[in-house]
């Protein structure tokens, strides 16, 4: 689905490996028979179908891509301890940071100020994994950059739509710098959904959510 941050992770991984793929956009309000057949358990996207075999859950798909095209660009670190660290932070970002960001989108005023602060604390913790490095993966983009990378494109947009200020030079300098570096990578840039289209979609969504809150 074109506006899904989870789907983009898969595209980034495939592109970094130089693997050709067919993109099939899903209407989540009217899920295709294929989606329901390929992912009967959660019925969610993204689903990667490799030679007819479906794999679901973006973090799992990215590891699958790394292991299947193992001679290509390395996504996961080679060392088991580093791999454990990457998986830990991916899980933290998924479980905690994602959950901390959503409330910003649906609140206003004082309530929003409170949740922005909480989100910043969460991101500050994640930021520690970036210390002294160009990317989460070290000198080059790796698994954790791919998992967390959607923040770089979506967060500034959420900030604009919600009238909030989250990732600033004062509060999250390392993260902000990483946003710029990450989005400058050709392969990453190439797969980003159109900003204006995404902005319009999220503006509409926010209006709907805030008015019904």
């Amino acid at each position: 689905m074109w506006a899904s941050p989870m789907a983009i992770r898969v595209e980034w991984a495939l592109r970094l490996k130089g693997v050709e793929y067919e993109y099939v956009d899903e209407d989540l309000g009217n899920k295709s028979e294929a989606l329901l057949r390929y992912n009967p358990v959660t019925k969610k996207i993204p689903v990667l179908v490799d030679d007819g075999k479906p794999i679901a859950e973006s973090t799992i798909i990215v590891e699958y891509i790394d292991e299947t095209w193992k001679d290509g660009y390395p996504l996961m670190p080679a060392d088991p301890y580093e791999r454990a660290q990457a998986r830990f932070w991916a899980r933290f970002a998924e479980d905690k940071c994602n959950a901390a960001l959503y409330p910003i989108f649906v609140t206003t005023g004082e309530a929003q100020r409170k949740v922005v602060h909480e989100a910043q604390q969460c991101l500050k913790t994640l930021e520690t994994a970036l210390k002294g490095k160009k990317f989460f993966g070290g000198d080059n983009v790796g698994y954790l950059d791919i998992i967390v990378g959607w923040f770089a494109h979506w967060l500034p947009l959420i900030e604009e739509v919600s009238g909030a200020s989250v990732v600033t030079d004062e509060e999250l300098p390392l993260m902000k710098a990483w946003f710029d570096r990450f989005l400058a990578v050709d392969v990453i840039k190439a797969a980003l959904p159109d900003r204006d289209r995404l902005l319009a979609l999220n503006k509409a969504r926010r209006e709907q959510l805030v008015s019904s809150a």
């Binding site: 859950e57 799992i60 292991e67 301890y81 899980r91």
Partner: protein, 223 residues
């Protein structure tokens, strides 16, 4: 304290934790000696807080002084760092992805739903019952007619789910769910796993789990 890197494996854990038990089972399956350190979760140790500053939770595996957190991440770490002994994850990437998917499903669903089963009453409990039966049936579907989730060998998904079999009795008594009745294949799988040394040694006796939860219920004032 600084620079002190203790050699070997230590597991910071809490006796009844199914997440901790996953790690204990994995360590035993790989025949890895380790030091078990029971944690007081009401009064967290400096070691626990230092080893898992982000979540302050167990289990934590400390290997040569370096901590690894999150039970499934620990199990994968054990499998990868000690790759010479028998593997818990299959070698084929697609089979690995399937194993990770089901372990992740178990992680996302079982514990939360199980907690609601004993913590709630009335409508929320009925909802939790319905969900748990669905979760168990889905897992039973994934198991199919295979002896273990991964096929012929005990592996990653079995390790991820087997500690929860010690909770079936608790689900039965507080949540009125009979796994035997609803999911006979799953019940048979539980019995099969229960015959393994690593599982026998590390699972809490179901009655002990039940007592533990009964005590918690009293503590929370849930009748």
């Amino acid at each position: 304290m600084a620079g002190e890197k203790r050699k070997g494996l230590q597991l910071l854990d809490f006796w009844v934790s199914p997440f901790g038990q996953r790690c204990r089972i994995a360590l035993d399956e790989k025949a890895l000696p380790y030091e078990y350190l029971e944690q007081d979760l009401g009064n967290k140790s400096e070691l626990l807080i230092r080893s898992n500053p982000v979540h302050k939770k167990i289990p934590v595996l400390v290997h040569d002084g370096r901590p690894v957190c999150e039970s499934l991440i620990i199990v994968q770490y054990i499998d990868e760092a000690f790759s010479s002994s028998s593997s818990l994850l299959p070698s084929d990437p697609y089979a690995r992805a399937q194993a990770r998917f089901w372990a992740d499903y178990i992680d996302k669903k079982v514990y939360d739903c199980g907690t609601r089963l004993w913590k709630t009453k009335g409508e929320p409990q009925q909802q939790a019952r319905k969900e748990m039966v669905e979760i168990l049936k889905t897992l039973e579907g994934a198991l199919g007619d295979k002896p273990y989730f991964g096929g012929d060998e005990f592996g990653f998904v079995d390790v991820a789910f087997v500690p929860f079999t010690a909770w079936f009795l608790t689900y039965e008594r507080f949540g009125e769910i009979s796994v035997e009745k609803e999911c006979p294949k799953l019940a048979a799988w539980a019995k099969r796993c229960g015959e393994r040394e690593s599982v026998k040694k590390n699972l809490s006796p179901p009655e002990k789990v039940y007592e533990f939860i009964a005590t918690l219920k009293k503590k929370f004032g849930i009748e």
